[in-house]
Structure formats: C-alpha cells, structure tokens
C-alpha cells in the first residue's frame, strides 16, 4: 500500500514509467545517454537467489523465496482463478532468518498452510530480520526451528518434497561477521515433515546491467560500487541505489537511496547546464 502510494506520487508529478524495458538487454546504459538522457539511476534490485547446494533442491515443491513471493504477490496467485499456479501447501519449511524469510513464511500461512517453520542455523537472538517482522511472524503462528541446519531435502516416489533432513547446531566463537559461528552437533540428525521448502538465503545482484556497462565498478559480490551518500557510481552521470548497491535489504532503505540520489542528480544536471 505504502509503495503504491509512492508510485502514484511519482506518476502525479509527471514521471513516465516505461514497462517491459529490461535495461542491459533491450537498451544499454550508454544507449540511454545516446538517446539524450543526461543522468541514469540504477535501481535494478535483488538478483539471483542463492540455494544451499544440498541434495533434493530440484524436487518439486522447492522454491526460492523470490519465486514464491513473485507468484503470490506480483502474479497474484493468492487470488482464486489466478492463471499463475502455486503449491497449495500443508507443511512449509522456510530456510533462512531474514526479512524475506519472514515474508515468505507469513505468506505461506496466509495461503492456508497448517504449519509453517522458519529453519535457521543460529539462535533467535541472531535472526537478521527486523524485530517487528519476527514478532509478527510469531503472532501469526510461525514455528521457529532455530539452531537447525538442513542437510538434505527428501522426496516421495513422484519427486515431490516430503521432508527435510536437518542437524542441530550450537554456537561457537564469533566469526568474521562478529556473530557466533554455528557448529554442527554430533549425531543430532532429525527430519522435519514438509511438502514445500522455501529457500530464503539472500540473493546476489543482477548481472544484466553490470555486464553491459563498461566502466561501471562493482565489488566482488557483484554489487555496484557507489561513492558518498548520494549513489554516485564510477561512471559520470550514473547513480545507483537499493539492493543493486547494498545487496538484499529493505524497500525502506531502497526508497531512501532513491530520494538521496534524486537530489544529487538534480544538482548534477543543474550544474551541467550552467557550465
């Protein structure tokens, strides 16, 4: 709702929204400049979902959180009669502890699942999701299986998910990220029954723009490098913000980045025309 209001505001002040334009494919950033645009802001968002590379991730009923949420929200699979299908799940295991994991878990619950688990390898204290998201998930009846790590997804004779083999974890010494490193407890294997597994392990930035824009610096994770607080990239007149810069984060941060860059772009163009 809030996002829709922001979009409506943009339209009201005269912003044209061109859909079906995958920049990096149909046009490159350089072609946009050739067409007369004086500055470009890249907000291309989250990219390729990560998987665990454990056996069974190709079984029917394993989704990335991106796919699950795209089907439900963007393609409206929550509506009866929607043309985009989604599994009608009974028992759902969501792997990961971030905001997207909470979103996927709560969506699964609202889609009518009987039981939804968050499976996370560290403890409740270490969940990277915002506190409110976790509280809301608990309120909606999501069961947290923390200090738990999946090792294999198991399937039935039709190749559909029927469970997830996990191990219990305990927390050791802090690692490079400052969080206590999870270590596998010996002989702690057990199986969670589930007909759907949703992997919410984060994403790596979309390569389409980066790979087609010479001179645009990215770090080794593939995030576009910006300088200062206004989204200035290594290319003149090119600004960036949101998940394409920070890696998967929140829509709140992304909208903030867009607003900061908009100011900087305004200034850049004004200075350019007075030169």
């Amino acid at each position: 709702m809030i996002v829709q209001k922001e979009i409506d505001n943009l339209k009201a002040i005269g912003v044209d929204i061109e859909t079906n334009m995958v920049i990096g494919k149909i046009l490159t950033i350089d072609e946009l400049f050739e067409m007369g645009y004086e500055a470009v802001f890249i907000g291309s968002g989250a990219g390729l979902p990560r998987f665990m590379n454990i056996p069974g991730e190709s079984l029917k009923g394993v989704y990335s959180a991106n796919e699950y949420l795209t089907r439900i929200n963007l393609m409206k699979a929550y509506k009866k009669g929607s043309k985009t299908p989604i599994s009608r799940s009974k028992k759902v295991a969501v792997v990961g502890g971030g905001n997207v994991a909470m979103d996927a878990a709560r969506s699964a619950m609202r889609m009518g699942a009987d039981e939804v688990y968050i499976v996370y390898r560290r403890g409740m204290e270490e969940l990277p999701a915002r506190r409110e998201e976790v509280e809301h998930a608990v309120e909606e009846g999501i069961v947290f299986k923390t200090l738990t790590n999946p090792v294999e997804i198991t399937g039935n004779e039709n190749g559909e998910v029927c469970g997830m083999k996990c191990v219990e974890m305990e927390l050791g010494e802090p690692d490079a990220s400052g969080r206590r490193r999870p270590i596998v407890k010996e002989n702690s294997g057990f199986t969670i029954e589930a007909d759907t597994v949703i992997m919410a392990l984060g994403t790596s930035p979309n390569p389409l723009i980066r790979s087609t824009t010479p001179g645009l610096s990215a770090d080794k994770r593939g995030c576009i490098v910006t300088e200062g607080d206004f989204g200035k990239t290594s290319r003149e007149g090119v600004y960036a913000g949101g998940d394409a810069v920070t890696g998967a984060a929140t829509v709140i941060l992304a909208m903030g980045a867009g607003k900061a860059a908009a100011k900087a772009i305004d200034e850049y163009i004004r200075n350019k025309t007075t030169e």
């Binding site: 995958v22 990219g47 979902p49 190709s58 009923g61 796919e67 089907r71 393609m75 409206k76 043309k83």
Partner: protein, 279 residues
C-alpha cells in the same frame, strides 16, 4: 502496446505471429527469447524468438496451443495487441568459428532451430538440418529450412512424409556417411534432446541444446528456471537458454517440468469452457 501485424496458421496446433516490437527487433539474436502476457491478468509465458526483422521492427513467435495461456494467445488476431512483450532475454546462441554444423529440430522446436540454421548459413557455415515431426500434417518451416540448409532430412514418426524414423536415426546416418561436425545444435522436446546427446556423446561431437523450463520473470530474479548442468545449479534465463547438452541433467528437467501438470490440465479445461461460451 505490441500489435500483432501478421498471424498465420502453420498446422492444426501451431501458429505464427509477427509482433510489432522495434526495440526488441533491433537487438534480438537467434537463441534469445521473449516473455509475453496476452492480457493484464495472464500468465507470463517465455517463447524463444523464431525470427526478427530489424527494418520492419517486428519479432516473430511460433507457438503450439498446449494449455490455457497459449489458447488465450490464440484468441488474438491481426491488429490486436499483446499486453506485455519483453526481451530479448537470455544469451544468444554462439555461432563463432563454426564451419560445419548439424541442426536438429523436433516439432515446434523447429521454430527455434530455424533462425540458428539461418544465421549459420549467412555466416558461410555448412548446415545439415534434420527435422522431425509426428506426421505429415504437423510439418512446419520446410521451405525455410530448405533455403538455409546444404542438406535437409525430414523425419516423421509414422512415415507419412519424409523418412519414417527418429531424428537420431537420420543424424547417425549422416555421421556414418562420413560427415564430421564441429557442433550439433538440437532443439525440441526434452526427450529428443536427451537422445540426441546420448548419440553425439558416443561420437564425441559437441552438442548444444536450448532449454525451456518453467520460468517466471526471465531476468534472473526468481530462480524458477534452474537446471543442473555439470553438477552446478544454472538459471536458463540468464546463463542460457543454450547449454552444453552433454552436461545437462535431462531427467531432472523433465521431472521439474511436470510440477504444475494438474493445475495446467485444469486451466486448459477452463479456457476451453470459456471459449465455448464466447462462441
């Protein structure tokens, strides 16, 4: 909006549409695909580009009517518009340095095999095409293939046209006749591509296949189109759709392709009923 400038029925279940999409036509290369939505509430459907005309600004798609979404597409005619048409997505087929290639097309897969044969031919490559269909009535693009191939073999399952047999029979014959190919490009049903790859592995010929898994966004966001290639997870939309056929896990791909079979059957039935009511 994306206007349909031409519609042509190729056989009882396969039709061609030329769509006005000048920016896509300018960039499209063989092997790439588009995603269309017929109407605002339609499913997103990926289709590999069958042809393009940079001057006219059109992109050609060829589709087989198999389910609810293709039935809905087929209700549109010349002058009507598609709600969405996005592309060109995926990586173009690699054609550099190829001197002699066997292009294998199966059924509606020929629609995708043809632009690659055409490009190879224009680059001066010797092209041997083998195309297979269930029967005579389903044969498409025969003249087109003939015009870009140094050798064309048409196979039908029942022998009602060309030679009776499978595309693998014709390919093995060509190999045994002493043809040595830099590469085999196979596009068609998964089961056909799997058996072409088993054959070419025996003769140690590099083989490229075009994968068409269930897909949603098509731009590397959802991971729905993942495949196992050489033991690694790959995304058909950004890493493909072309892959080294000897590394693709076809059995897994076939399995994943059936994920929504029941839903699809139901959607098809509903579309049929809806169309009956309208008529």
């Amino acid at each position: 909006m994306y206007r349909i400038v031409k519609k042509k029925i190729l056989n009882p279940t396969v039709s061609l549409m030329e769509i006005e999409a000048p920016l896509i036509a300018k960039k499209a290369e063989p092997g790439q695909f588009i995603i269309f939505r017929a109407k605002e509430d339609s499913e997103r459907v990926p289709l590999t580009i069958a042809d393009f005309d940079r001057e006219k600004g059109t992109v050609t798609i060829i589709y087989q009517i198999v389910g609810g979404s293709t039935m809905e597409l087929d209700t549109l005619g010349e002058g009507d518009c598609l709600h969405d048409f996005v592309g060109p997505l995926g990586r173009p087929s690699e054609t550099d340095g190829l001197k002699k290639v066997a292009v294998i097309g199966g059924g509606v897969g020929c629609a995708i095999a043809y632009p690659i044969a055409k490009k190879l031919s224009s680059l001066g490559c010797e092209v041997h095409s083998v195309v297979g269909f269930r029967n005579k009535d389903l044969v498409i693009l025969e003249d087109e293939f003939r015009s870009v191939s140094n050798e064309l073999r048409i196979m039908t399952d029942d022998g009602s046209y060309g030679t009776k047999g499978l595309v693998t029979n014709a390919l093995e014959e060509l190999i045994k006749e002493g043809n040595s190919y830099d590469e085999v490009i196979a596009i068609g049903p998964l089961i056909m591509m799997k058996f072409v790859c088993l054959l070419t592995k025996k003769y140690d010929i590099k083989t490229v296949v075009s994968m068409n898994p269930i897909m949603i966004d098509g731009t590397g966001m959802c991971g729905g189109c993942r495949l196992t290639v050489g033991g690694e997870t790959k995304f058909a939309c950004v890493d493909g759709p072309d892959f080294d056929g000897h590394l693709v896990d076809f059995d897994e791909a076939m399995h994943r392709g059936t994920m929504y079979r029941d839903f699809e059957a139901h959607a098809r039935e509903e579309s049929c009923n809806l169309l009956k009511k309208e008529n």
